[in-house]
């Protein structure tokens, strides 16, 4: 069949329509068959545990249905709100800091580093923190902030910037800052990589035209580049909010949730409810509450995500 014939609209008539539907049905069947292993895996590792969690959240230890009692207990526990507040503070510190630093670094490299070799080196360096296990990051951070032998205090005192030991992990405000700094170190490169990739998609002609018109670097960023980056900011928020809700390892190693409960984030709190208090019903109720909340948030965020364009 010639190319022209292939591009012509199919003639109307019952026979060709049936043939097309048959072909489409065959293709759909093939597509579903190929997708089946993936969908099956998702069903086993996501759907079944979720259904079990929901079931656990509405039953007692002996399996009797107790309605929403576990949810009521979860919501009436003051420690839940402490954990929620600590998680909120943590997110307010890390998310803007990571986005601002990642953006600044992406713009800096995009505009000043032109050699491909150097860009590749920076790319590799940026990937490194992302592949380090969180436990290892926590252990190294402890060597930096630990009381008595922490490297940071040593340098501050050697440089004359501190006369006595700063209790980085012992004062609530500083402890929160310290655990947040670890997150910022590990995840700012992720923001940088995403935004740097986004900056590569900005059409060169638009930038050159703006420069001819006398656009400054700031107006160039605000009126052209930001337009291309906006969906990526949502994408970053999408992933980072999920990560913030999962933060566990380095907080556990650095402060154990202390002083008191000042750095007991939601994930650490849920861990303790499940594995210290062995209150599976309340832990499941908390997990479902978090999942529902985050699903609502994500459904709002995804409305503005450029899924089609991606």
């Amino acid at each position: 069949m010639s190319r022209l014939a292939a591009e012509l609209p199919a003639p109307t008539g019952a026979k060709p329509a049936r043939a097309g539907r048959r072909r489409r049905n065959r293709q759909e069947r093939l597509a579903y068959t190929i997708l089946l292993p993936a969908l099956g895996t998702v069903f086993v590792i996501v759907t079944i545990p979720f259904v079990l969690a929901v079931w656990q959240s509405i039953t007692a230890d002996d399996g009797t249905l107790i309605g929403l009692r576990n949810y009521a207990r979860a919501l009436s526990n003051p420690l839940f709100y402490d954990a929620l507040r600590a998680t909120g503070i943590y997110a307010i510190i890390v998310l803007p800091a990571e986005i601002f630093l990642g953006l600044a670094f992406a713009l800096l490299v995009h505009r000043t580093v032109k050699r491909p070799g150097l860009r590749a080196t920076l790319y590799v360096l940026a990937v490194l923190p992302l592949v380090v296990p969180p436990v290892a990051v926590g252990v190294v951070a402890r060597l930096i902030y630990a009381p008595g032998y922490g490297v940071l205090n040593y340098f501050l005192q050697s440089a004359g910037l501190a006369h006595s030991e700063v209790e980085w992990l012992g004062v609530p405000v500083l402890a929160m800052g310290s655990v947040a700094s670890v997150d910022i170190w590990q995840w700012t490169p992720f923001v940088y990589l995403v935004l740097f990739a986004g900056l590569q998609t900005v059409p060169r002609e638009s930038i050159e035209a703006a420069q001819v018109d006398g656009a400054t670097w700031w107006t160039q960023f605000i009126y052209i580049e930001l337009h291309y980056l906006r969906p990526l900011f949502l994408l970053i928020l999408f992933f980072r909010v999920a990560d913030v809700l999962r933060v566990f390892d380095h907080v556990f190693i650095l402060t154990g949730g202390g002083p008191g409960t000042s750095t007991q984030l939601l994930s650490l709190y849920m861990y303790r409810i499940e594995f210290k208090f062995f209150d599976g019903g309340q832990a499941a109720a908390l997990a479902v509450l978090v999942l529902v909340s985050i699903s609502i948030l994500y459904s709002l965020v995804t409305r503005d995500l450029p899924l089609e364009r991606a």
Binding site: L30, T33, I34, P37, V135, Y145, A146, P147, G148, Y149, S164, E165, E167, W168, L169, G170, V171, P172, A175, F252, L254, T255, G256, G257, G258, P259, G260, T261, R272, F275, K276, F277, F278
Partner: protein, 441 residues
């Protein structure tokens, strides 16, 4: 090249996927003996805690293979993950592990769950007079003394675990500077006397929950305080308990290192090993792993180890922190697993275990003067066993109790709350918890 149809392609893909998916299960089935408990398996799988506790076990395991032909596979997990893994495995009655290492406070949880096979009735274990009675008691469920959880009162007692790491919390001080303190008052006096810039009179291990709980309980008990009395009545807000907590978090804290509320065991050992601290409580694992390790310690030979000093009660009460070996109920190799425990307990094998850094439980080894210079804490450990150290309350709610108590202790060390208020809060929360778990409140 032969062409295949789309249908054939899909079919082959499905078959290949199924084969790959099944591969781990097939390999697992091939690698594990699935016979009855009396069959000789090719290997035994031990779930162990990662760290100084299982290091010597890993070193002696090859000897067992050379003597019996049975391979010992040690699956290491960090402390919290090991507990979670064991709980979930036991809940599913899984057969992944033939033996498991257990911290002694886990015994009530596992005992209540009926998670372990009895070593006495199933495998003929009897008490050996060379091993302290308390070592057998700590592996027995329901507990032979102290309060018994209401749900366990009608169960018959059995031995479920045998200690392979004879941890008991003790006390260490710089013997090159002073004599041994006999009481906590002397500890305080010495702390004040030797405290100096960059040299701390006392080290508090005050990190939230388990660390600060472990550090403070010997002081609490030695002052006559307690978490529960013999009827599960909460005692944390008693005068003796509050006095003990005030002593640690106010009096001793004056001479402690900066940031005690964020200090864990490794930090404490480092402070001692680098010559920056005078005294503290200590676990044997810290001694062998850091303080007496010549490759990292600047104070080797300058530190002495003694049982916990006496408090206001007139007693000095150490705390059990034994690591036991038990056989999960789901294990299909119970008999072979029991043989391995018996092999570990043989005097000659325990001596070899000690040579690899193991912490023994046999009195004859702990009191062997030929081993004293290489193991300067053995005598103190033997004395601690003789004094019968306390164990943490034998309740399946212990993890929750410890979390509540350890959080309030951490807050009061950080200065966020007064000692009395912290203990009143902890006592109220623990009462509510225990009431919910059907304990007498």
């Amino acid at each position: 090249m032969q062409r295949i149809t789309r249908r054939e392609f899909v079919k082959r893909t499905a078959v290949t996927s199924a084969a790959f998916t099944s591969l781990p299960a097939i390999l697992a089935a091939c690698g594990t003996s699935t016979g009855t408990g009396s069959n000789k398996p090719s290997k035994l799988v031990i779930a162990a805690v990662q760290g100084v506790e299982d290091g010597p076990l890993k070193k002696v395991a090859p000897n067992y293979k050379s003597q019996t032909g049975i391979d010992i596979q040690i699956v290491e997990l960090p402390y919290p993950q090991l507990f979670e893994k064991l709980v979930t495995t036991f809940q599913a009655n899984g057969s992944s592990y033939d033996l498991c290492m257990m911290d002694d406070p886990w015994m009530p949880k596992f005992g209540t769950m009926n998670a372990l096979q009895p070593l006495d009735s199933n495998f003929g274990f009897t008490r050996d007079s060379d091993i302290p009675t308390v070592v057998y008691d700590v592996g027995t469920w329901p507990p032979p003394h102290g309060p018994v959880p209401p749900s366990e009162k009608n169960k018959s007692q059995h031995l479920y675990g045998i200690t392979i790491v004879g941890n008991v919390e003790m006390f260490m001080y710089r013997k090159d500077k002073s004599d041994a303190p006999k009481t906590w008052d002397e500890v305080l006096t010495n702390a004040a006397k030797y405290n100096a810039p960059n040299f701390y009179g006392y080290v508090i291990r005050g990190l939230a929950t388990n660390p600060v709980s472990s550090d403070s309980l010997p002081i609490l008990w030695s002052f006559g305080g307690n978490i529960f009395d013999d009827n599960w009545k909460v005692q944390l807000d008693s005068t003796a308990s509050i006095d003990a907590v005030t002593f640690l978090t106010r009096s001793l804290k004056k001479y402690a290192q900066p940031g005690p509320q964020s200090t864990d065991a490794a930090d404490r050992s480092k402070l001692m090993a680098t010559g920056k601290a005078y005294q503290s409580t200590v676990w044997p694992g810290e001694i062998t792993g850091i303080v007496e390790d010549p490759t990292v310690s600047q104070v080797k030979g300058k530190v002495a180890y003694i049982p916990i000093p006496q408090g206001a009660s007139g007693k000095g009460l150490g705390m059990m922190g034994n690591w036991l070996l038990g056989i999960p109920r789901g294990s299909k190799n119970g008999s072979a697993a029991a043989d391995f425990i018996k092999w570990m307990l043989k005097p000659e094998n325990m001596r070899n275990y000690v040579a690899q850094g193991g912490i023994p439980i046999r009195k004859s080894i702990l009191n062997d003067s030929s081993l004293a210079s290489a193991n300067p804490y053995f005598q103190a450990l033997a004395q601690s066993f003789d004094a019968v150290p306390n164990w943490r309350p034998r309740t399946d709610q212990w993890n929750a109790v410890e979390t509540i108590y350890g959080t309030q202790m951490n807050a009061t060390i950080a200065g966020q709350i007064a000692p009395a208020a912290a203990m009143q809060k902890a006592a109220a929360d623990i009462r509510a918890l225990m009431k919910g778990a059907n304990y007498p409140s």
